[in-house]
């Protein structure tokens, strides 16, 4: 079967999959971890997003937006996962934080700091967590976040401001150490 090519880009779905994977797999999984707090779940979610992009490749009007589509899918599927989790697994809050991979130079202190930040994020309302992850991890603009989440720029600003303020309270000592 001939590969499906997007007319707009001349790219086949297979080529797009390979390139997008090489460039963004790691970052998207890490974004997923910030949102769902679990590495394995984040990998599953991002893998499903790649499959969805591949399946819809020839219907994407603007293949240049494939990355934005992938990111949006990660946010949406992470949200769906958390909703599902809250219904069927009330004890989710007691789950252990993600287990970092080993590394020779990693200190227990670094691990504790990272776990603290992930825990603090998990404690935020869902929308604030999404906005902060997109704003401060992916470095997206307010306009890009508003577009992705389907909310106004004012709402993005408000969620970012409240989320950051809440993090400052929880992570006060950690933030001070980074000064």
């Amino acid at each position: 079967m001939a590969p499906t090519r997007s007319q707009a880009s001349g790219w086949s779905a297979d080529e797009a999959l390979e390139l997008l994977y090489a460039a963004h797999w790691r970052q998207l999984v890490r974004l997923g971890v910030l949102l769902v707090h679990d590495v394995g779940t984040a990998e599953e979610i991002v893998q499903d997003c790649f499959i969805a992009v591949h399946a819809r490749w020839n219907r994407l009007h603007d293949p240049d937006k494939a990355l934005a589509y992938l990111r949006q899918s990660v946010v949406n599927r992470s949200r769906s996962h958390l909703r599902h989790l809250s219904v069927v697994r009330r004890h989710a809050d007691r789950e252990a934080p993600p287990e970092p991979t080993s590394g020779a130079d990693r200190t227990a202190y670094d691990q504790a700091r990272r776990a603290t930040v992930l825990d603090a994020l998990r404690g935020l309302p869902r929308r604030q967590r999404e906005v902060l992850a997109l704003r401060y991890y992916l470095d997206l603009s307010e306009a890009e976040i508003a577009d992705m989440l389907g909310i106004s720029r004012g709402a993005v600003k408000s969620h970012a401001s409240r989320g950051a303020a809440a993090l400052r309270v929880v992570l006060g000592a950690v933030i001070e150490e980074t000064r």
């Binding site: 994977y21 790691r26 890490r30 470095d139």
Partner: protein, 354 residues
């Protein structure tokens, strides 16, 4: 305002750091298998009379054997995923992608050799000694891709001896911009140190990586982040800098010199009216441009670039050299320094007035 910017920078660092040691498992083969599921085995057609003669059970047994044999053949041929080698597949995808994306020159040379200008970023020092990037404009043949010219020069000695480069000849190759993938790909050679070399500070290493980011972004006219790839996978560290994710352009005021001369270049011979251009970010945008020789300042000309935003602003002045005696001079662009500490931000060019 600075407090807010600092606060945001700290949040950026914290969130990036929180997931920086998470190394997802490689699921590319699973993905390939998911999007190209093993084809269903279609049983051979049989005539109704044959079914009638042998009975349903016998038919099922035959189909079962055919299915088993066929599936073994499929496993043998395709259970490693796509027919092409994974690395080859990615390499060819990257190579193909680039041709449509880079804005590379396509015009053929006509008569004389046409040239074009392109930007290359080198490392210098700010007044505190911190490594920052300075931009030089070079010219090269119009027939050669801009990115190839820029990478060649990135690995060569800059025109201005005040600058330097961390990149050695042959360290970088195959720079390709790909909007579909949302990145610029570049391949570091096996000779590029994974860890920070002795004597190189963390700031030096960060500046070196940003040299590549700024230079390639300028060559491809895009702000896409840069991904270092080798053998089809992201390189996790370059010069000790984490490069497992695409590297975005560093914030302008934290990465670039706050004053930079664009024209002329170091070593230029000039005469008549000298059009000096550059960029800056300084208190009220103030920058002074002058010639200096043996401690004497000539043609001091103030001008305005800009400030209050995280970017550099263009400025330009014209110096009348008609009354300047021939000789070698240092052209200086100096930002205003309201602190009075006498450590202004400067950029210089040594030029010869004919």
């Amino acid at each position: 305002m600075n407090d807010r910017i600092d606060d945001e920078a700290r949040l950026r660092r914290l969130l990036s750091d929180a997931v920086s040691d998470i190394e997802p498992e490689n699921r590319l083969d699973e993905l390939r298998a998911s999007v190209h599921p093993r084809p269903k085995v279609v049983p051979m057609t049989r005539s109704r009379s044959w079914y009638a003669a042998t009975g349903i059970l016998a038919t099922a047994a035959v189909i079962g054997v055919i299915a088993y044999v066929t599936s073994m053949a499929i496993d043998k041929n395709t259970n490693v995923g796509p027919a092409t080698d994974p690395e080859t597949s990615l390499h060819s995808a990257i190579a193909t992608a680039t041709d449509t994306a880079s804005g590379l020159p396509t015009s053929a040379a006509t008569g004389r050799t046409a040239t074009k200008a392109y930007a290359v970023y080198y490392v210098g020092a700010d007044p505190k000694g911190k490594p920052v990037l300075f931009r030089e404009f070079h010219r090269g043949p119009d027939t050669k891709p801009t990115a190839a010219l820029a990478v060649d020069d990135l690995e060569s000695t800059p025109l201005d001896p005040d600058y330097s480069t961390a990149w050695q000849r042959g360290w970088l190759k195959d720079a390709k911009a790909n909007p579909n993938a949302g990145v610029i790909f570049v391949t570091p050679s096996a000779g590029v140190p994974r860890d920070r070399p002795t004597g190189m500070t963390a700031d030096d290493a960060t500046a070196a990586v940003q040299q590549v980011v700024y230079t390639l972004q300028a060559a491809f006219h895009t702000r896409l982040p840069v991904l270092f790839v080798r053998h089809g996978a992201a390189v996790d560290r370059v010069l000790g800098v984490r490069t497992s994710e695409p590297i975005a352009q560093g914030k302008a005021l934290a990465t670039l010199s706050h004053v930079n001369i664009s024209n002329p270049n170091d070593g230029d011979m000039v005469s008549g009216s000298l059009h000096v251009t550059g960029v800056n970010n300084a208190f009220e945008g103030s920058v002074a441009v002058y010639l200096e020789q043996n401690g004497h300042k000539l043609l001091m000309t103030p001008t305005i670039g800009g400030w209050l935003e995280d970017r550099l602003f263009p400025w330009q002045v014209t110096l009348d050299l008609s009354k300047v005696p021939p000789g070698t001079y240092t052209l200086v662009a100096q930002n205003d320094d309201p602190s009075g500490r006498n450590k202004p931000e400067v950029d210089t060019r040594v030029i010869t007035v004919k």
